[in-house]
C-alpha cells in the first residue's frame, strides 16, 4: 500500500503542485481512518445483559450508526458520551426498538437481550419494552395523577392482581425513585404539577414499576437544575443494585460520577470504550481525548 501511495503522491506533485497534493492525501487519510476505524478498548464484558454486534442504523440514506459492537454488563451503568448528533440517542433507542416509530429508520446487525435477538421478526416490542424501560430527556409524565402515572405500566402488563398489590408496587417504585416522601400525601394530584426534578423521578418510578431488566436514560438530567441532578444521580447509583442502566449524557462529570464503563461515540462510530476512570484519566484515542479535554463538543 505504502509504495503505491508514494507513486501516486509523486505523480500528483507533478500534476498539481505539492501543497494541493498534500491536502488531497490528508483528506484521503481521514477517510481511510474513518472507514477502518475500529473501536479502541474492550467493548465486551464477562457477564453481558445486552449484546450488540455490528449494528448499523440508517435514516433513509443517512448512515447514523456505523458498525457498532458493544456489550452492556449486568448491574452496571454504561455511559454514552460524544458530541451532539453523533448518534448516542439513536443507538440508545435501538436497545428497546423505540426507533420503530421512525418510519425512515432501518437497523441491521444483532442486538441480543439475554440471548434473544430483539430485532427478530417474531419479537413483540410490547414485552420487550416492558423489559427494557426508558427515561427521556424531557420529563414526560402523563397528564394524569401521580398514582396513575406509576400504576399505568403494571396495569397494562397485568403485573398486579388487585388494588393492594398495585398500591404496593406504586409505593415501592416511588420509594426506589426517592420520591415517596415528597408525594405520598398527594398521589391523586396531577404528575404534571410537580417540579422538573420530581417529574423526572416520577418518570423513573414509572419505568421501574414494570420491573424492567434494563433502563435506558437519554440525557435524563439535561432539563434539571444542579440539585435535582444530584438527586437523580444518587438515584441512578442506587438503582444499579437491581438494574442495568445505559445513560446518555452530555455532562462528563456526570458520566464520571455515575458510570462504571464509558463509551465514546463520534459521527456514528463507537470510538472508544473502557472503564470510566480509565477513559477520563487516560484516553487512548485522539478523538476521545479531544472531547473530554473540551477541545470540541
Amino acid at each position: 500500500m505504502a509504495p503505491a501511495m508514494d507513486t501516486i503522491l509523486d505523480m500528483r506533485d507533478v500534476i498539481m503542485g505539492k501543497d494541493e497534493a498534500e491536502a488531497a492525501v490528508a483528506t484521503k487519510a481521514r477517510k481511510v481512518d474513518r472507514d477502518q476505524r475500529t473501536t479502541v478498548g474492550v467493548p465486551f464484558v464477562e457477564e453481558p445483559r445486552m449484546i450488540c454486534r455490528e449494528v448499523n442504523v440508517f435514516y433513509g440514506d443517512k448512515h447514523a450508526i456505523n458498525n457498532v459492537s458493544i456489550d452492556v454488563g449486568k448491574n452496571e451503568v454504561l455511559a454514552m458520551i460524544g458530541p451532539s448528533g453523533c448518534g448516542k440517542s439513536t443507538f440508545l433507542r435501538c436497545l428497546n426498538r423505540m426507533n420503530d416509530t421512525v418510519a425512515s429508520c432501518r437497523v441491521t446487525g444483532e442486538i441480543l437481550l439475554d440471548a434473544l435477538n430483539i430485532y427478530d421478526k417474531k419479537v413483540d416490542v410490547v414485552p420487550l419494552r416492558a423489559q427494557v424501560g426508558m427515561v427521556f430527556q424531557k420529563p414526560n409524565p402523563f397528564p394524569k395523577s401521580i398514582f396513575d402515572n406509576v400504576a399505568y405500566g403494571p396495569k397494562i402488563h397485568g403485573l398486579v392482581n388487585n388494588k393492594t398489590e398495585l398500591n404496593d408496587v406504586v409505593e415501592d417504585s416511588l420509594k426506589k425513585a426517592g420520591l415517596w416522601n415528597e408525594v405520598s400525601d398527594r398521589l391523586d394530584q396531577p404528575g404534571t404539577g410537580l417540579s422538573g426534578g420530581q417529574q423526572q423521578r416520577l418518570c423513573i418510578a414509572r419505568a421501574i414499576a414494570v420491573r424492567p431488566e434494563v433502563i435506558l436514560m437519554d440525557e435524563p438530567c439535561s432539563a434539571l437544575d444542579p440539585i435535582a441532578t444530584a438527586t437523580v444521580e444518587d438515584l441512578i447509583t442506587e438503582l444499579k443494585e437491581h438494574y442495568t442502566i445505559v445513560i446518555v449524557t452530555h455532562n462528563m462529570q456526570q458520566a464520571a460520577r455515575v458510570s462504571q464503563r464509558t463509551a465514546y461515540f463520534h459521527l456514528g462510530d463507537l470510538v472508544e470504550v473502557g472503564p470510566t476512570d480509565r477513559i477520563f484519566t487516560n484516553p487512548r484515542h485522539q478523538l476521545t481525548e479531544d472531547y473530554i479535554t473540551g477541545r470540541f463538543g
Binding site: A103, V126, P127, R129, A130, G133, P141, F142, I156, C203
Partner: protein, 424 residues
Amino acid sequence: MSENHQISTMDRVSVGLAARYRKERRFRLFGISAIVASLLFLALLLASITAKGYTAFRQTEVLLDVYLDPAVLDVHNLATANYAALVRDAALALFSQVESRQDKRIIGKLISTGAAYRLQDLVTSKPELIGSTRPIWVPADDEVDMFVKGHIPRDVPEAERRVSDKQASWIDQLVAADRLKLKFNTAFFQAGDSREPELAGIRGAAAGSMFTLAITLLLSFPVGVAAAVYLEEFAPKNRWTDLIEVNINNLAAIPSIVFGLLGLAVFLNFMNLPRSASLVGGLVLTLMTLPTIIIASRASLKSVPPSIREAALGVGASKMQTISHHILPLAMPGMMTGAIIGMARALGETAPLLMIGMVAFIVDVPNSFSDPATVLPVQIFLWADSPERAFVERTSAAIMILLLLLLAMNAAAVFLRNKFERRW
C-alpha cells in the same frame, strides 16, 4: 471615539424607536377599528332582528263565550262537528248591533281559523262540557294581530290599509270590553308550519333540525374520529394517503349544494329512501360535515405532544393502548370542538336540504327519522318568502331561535374545551 460612536448608536436607535412605536400604534388602531366595526355590524344585525322579531312571541287573542251546542256537537262524532260555526256564532254574539250579512262575514274573519281547532281540543278532552257556555281565549286573525301590534298603522288612508275603519272600531270595542289581549304565543313554540301566520310555529322545524342533527352527529363523529385516527396513526405515509388527504381537504371546500345533489342521486333515486325525511337530511349533512370533523380531529391528534406518545410506548403500551389511553383523551377536546363547529354549520345549512325535498310545506311535527320534516333555516327561508305581513316578525323570531341554538352550541364547545383541556 468609542463614546461618540455609542452616543450616535443611541440616537439612531431612538429615532427608529419612535417610528417603531408609531407603527405599533397604527397597527393597534387598525385592529381596534376592525373589531369595533364588526361588533357594530353584529349589534346592528341582532338589534334589527330582535326589534322585528320580539313581537312574534306574543299573539293577539280574543275572549269568546262559546255555547257548546249539543245540536252541533255529537258526542260520538266529535271529529267532524262544525266547530267553526260555533266560533262564528260566539263572535257575532259580541256584536249584537251588526245586521248586514257582509259585516257578519267580516266579523267571522276577525277570528283565526285556529279557534275551531282549539275548541275541538277542548271538547274532545272534556266532552262533559257540551251543553254549557264556556269563556275561551282564541287566536285572532293575523291581520287583527298586526293591527293591534301597530304594524298596520291607523293614520294612513283606509284604502291603503288591510284593516278597514269598521274593523278597527270593532277591535277597539273588544279592547274596551277587555276581550282582546296580547298573550304569550304558545302556538309559535308548539305548532308546525301553517298557511295562517297566527297558527304557524317552529316546533316542526325544530324537531326536524333535531332529528337531522342527531343523525349527523351519530354518524359523522364516530366515523370522522375513526378516519382521523387511522389516517394519523396507522396509515402508511405514501402517495395514496397523500391523495386521500388532499381529497379530504378538497371535500371540505365543496359547496354544500353539491352534497345535496349527491344525496338526491344516491339516497333518494338509488337507495329509494323517503323524500323529505330527516334521515336523508342527516345523511347528506354527514357527508358535508365529515371532512370538517376529520380535519379538526387530525389537527388535534397532531397537537398531542410526541413526548406523551413516547412515554406510553416506552413503558410498553401497544399502539392501540397508546392511542386509546393517552392520545385520544388528550385530543378529545379538540375533536369535540371540531364536531360542534361542524354541527353548528350543519344546523344552519339550507341548500343541500332543498335538494332532497326538505323544503316541502309540512304541517305535522315529525315524530321519527323517516317522517317528512323541514329544518329551522329552511323554515326561515319559507317564511321569508311568504307575503303575509305577520310572517315578517315570525321570520325574525325564528332567526332569533336559530341564533340562540347556535350560541348554545358554541358555548358548549367552549365549555367542553375548557373542561377537558389538560396541560402537559
